[in-house]
Symmetry: C2
Subunit: 355 residues, 2 copies
DNA sequence: CTGAAAGCGCTTACAG
DNA sequence: CTGAAAGCGCTTACAG
């Protein structure tokens, strides 16, 4: 179908250069030629080939973005924001997910570079030791970090201050009277954000004269949350509050707690990080450190586009976060009440048959 | 950096044809040339340009996928599945979201066609009247539908049987003794799936000798769920069960119900459609019609790839769904208990300050 | 085993 | 206002 610029030129009785000028509005044309070209284009159903254009222009108007997963709304939202800005600027975006694997990240960068993207945005596992980032740097293509904090001064990074945010949230939890606060993380090793958040959490505890326990790592597979919760509840000096390194984890943990007969926040408080929309839909609402995910994606794209246009890379500033208190964070129980075993909780009807 | 095939050839002291053959392993080469080319490639950091390749080959090894939004996990998951298969087959994928706007859908198709994708997968608002689909067809490029049911016999569509699935779920609700069941939909007009599901719901009601009320449409903006819930609860003959056209809506509705002091499923049952993972994390777990989202994306890609390789388009069959009962669906209350006004619900601590 | 040459679809000086 | 020609980075007959 389609047809090329040659077909249009032939049909319109002019040169391909003239057709090109018509399509791009790059030079004044006589009314007559204009009309003939217009008719030819309509008849043929001509659509300029971006790949022909790209080859000549040495620019593809294409951007690549790599995130750990699309399943976590915090990344899906940022991708959406990124895409919105890209589209508005006439750019197409290539998306890849790494599933939290640094090798896959690097591979995705290779692929994107092969496709000659004009720039890349990436959320990597660990910005300080990222093969993907090394490939980007070696290529000389503009790149911005999203959610990761910069690995060096001249790197553009769109992120909140994870340490500070986690510290503030921990202070909010402490302010509710909690003294035994555990930190739970999924894939701790695979996320520099988790580690930074743990640091902020630990700082707040130390400042309050408490000794921060090591993070509880969850595998995020199968019934990991349930197993972890069972252990936590059984513990002698069980925590009264849980700081989860992200909201999806927090939601899973709350579900597990309820299944084990613990009431949130009465028996145990839970706070998360990210501020995903679903956290506001559930009851109790999820206390969380809200990041402006969508706006972060938009910002990453704006910054990347600026870089592509040759802007100088100013040192990046942290974006603002918001400590969002919610129903899942309650006052610390004076004396931890015994938690009735799972099943004996009258409020929860757990019918899980399937037809 | 990069450098082109010419740079490699020059450095290796051979022709670009030989370099090409080396890179593609497309002809036997003498050990010596092989080594020289290898060294040259390493020295230069050469990476073949897909755009040069594509132009010559008249194929880009690129696929486009268009979904309404990445924010709904059901779409994010299908995109992930699609991507997995594409990647494994050496294809790169372009993603666009339509935000449920048919014009945007068509625009996205135009863009992808301009990028010369080898095929497209799309979830459109309404397959029966889709400008996007018309553009795909006119282009002659292979295309498959995802979540939409086929608009005609020879269209490849990866979807469950929405009517049947919704009917079965409604029967399950009826089996719990419910007689007043309302159907809630977000963007009813913008989703043929919602309409098909409503049809299945209506069929089941009629079969049970009940008169199906018209669907309740929600705008999905601001506090639409809360307003709708307030109206539903206030209604004289208020429903005892709500069939929500998708899980995200169902979760939002459950949250709204709780805020209004209604207990799920004690006062009102809620069922959804999609079977998103989060529905299983919350308590009570969400009763839903589970679709294999990720596998559907994988299947769409497999089918599309087959089409691209010239396979004949066999008539598509429905994928299997699963009626997943869950805590949110309980027996119908004998006598609807009065629902206490919001705030008087002792169990829910709703502290929504923000720092 | 290797090379010269054509051509994929475009844009853009250079001329006129 | 318009055209002929070069060239963007590749692959692939055609020769040898």
């Amino acid at each position: 179908m389609a047809g090329t610029i040659h077909d249009v030129a032939e049909r319109a009785g002019c040169s391909i250069a003239t057709v090109s000028r018509y399509v791009n509005g790059t030079a004044p044309l006589s009314l007559e030629t204009r009309e003939r070209i217009e008719a030819a284009i309509a008849a043929i159903g001509y659509r300029p080939s971006e790949i022909g254009r790209s080859l000549k222009r040495q620019a593809t108007r294409t951007l690549g973005i790599i995130v750990p997963s699309l399943t976590n709304p915090v990344f899906a939202d940022s991708v959406t924001g990124f895409q919105t800005v890209a589209r508005a600027s006439g750019y197409t975006v290539l998306i890849a997910t790494s599933e939290y694997d640094p090798e896959v990240e690097a591979q995705a960068v290779e692929t994107f570079l092969g496709q000659s993207v004009d720039g890349l945005a990436l959320t990597v596992c660990d910005a300080m030791a990222s093969p993907a980032l090394a490939v980007v740097d070696a290529s000389g293509k503009p790149g911005v970090l999203l959610y990761n904090q910069a690995d060096h001064a001249s790197r553009l990074a769109v992120t909140v201050d994870n340490v500070r945010a986690a510290r503030e949230m921990t202070e909010a939890v402490l302010a509710k009277g909690h003294r035994r606060i555990a930190f739970l993380a999924g894939r701790f090793a695979a996320s520099d954000r988790s580690r930074l958040r743990y640091r902020g959490y630990a700082l707040a505890l130390v400042e309050a004269g408490l000794k921060p326990p090591p993070p509880v790592e969850l595998d995020f597979l199968d019934d990991a949350p349930d197993a972890a919760i069972a252990a936590l509840i059984a513990a002698e000096n069980r925590p009264t509050a849980l700081f989860c390194s992200n909201d999806v984890l927090a939601l899973a943990i709350i579900g597990a707690l309820k299944r084990h007969g613990a009431q949130v926040p009465h028996d145990m408080s839970v706070v998360g990080f990210d501020g995903i929309a679903l956290g506001q839909m559930v009851e109790p609402t999820l206390a969380s450190v809200a990041q402006p995910a969508r706006r972060m994606g938009e910002r990453a794209c704006t910054d990347l586009l600026a870089l592509i246009s040759g802007a100088h890379s100013r040192p990046s500033e942290f974006l603002g976060h918001e400590i969002r208190l919610g129903g899942s964070l309650g006052p610390a129980p004076r004396i931890p009440a015994p938690i009735r075993a799972a099943g004996s909780n009258p409020g929860s009807t757990t019918q899980q048959e399937s037809a």
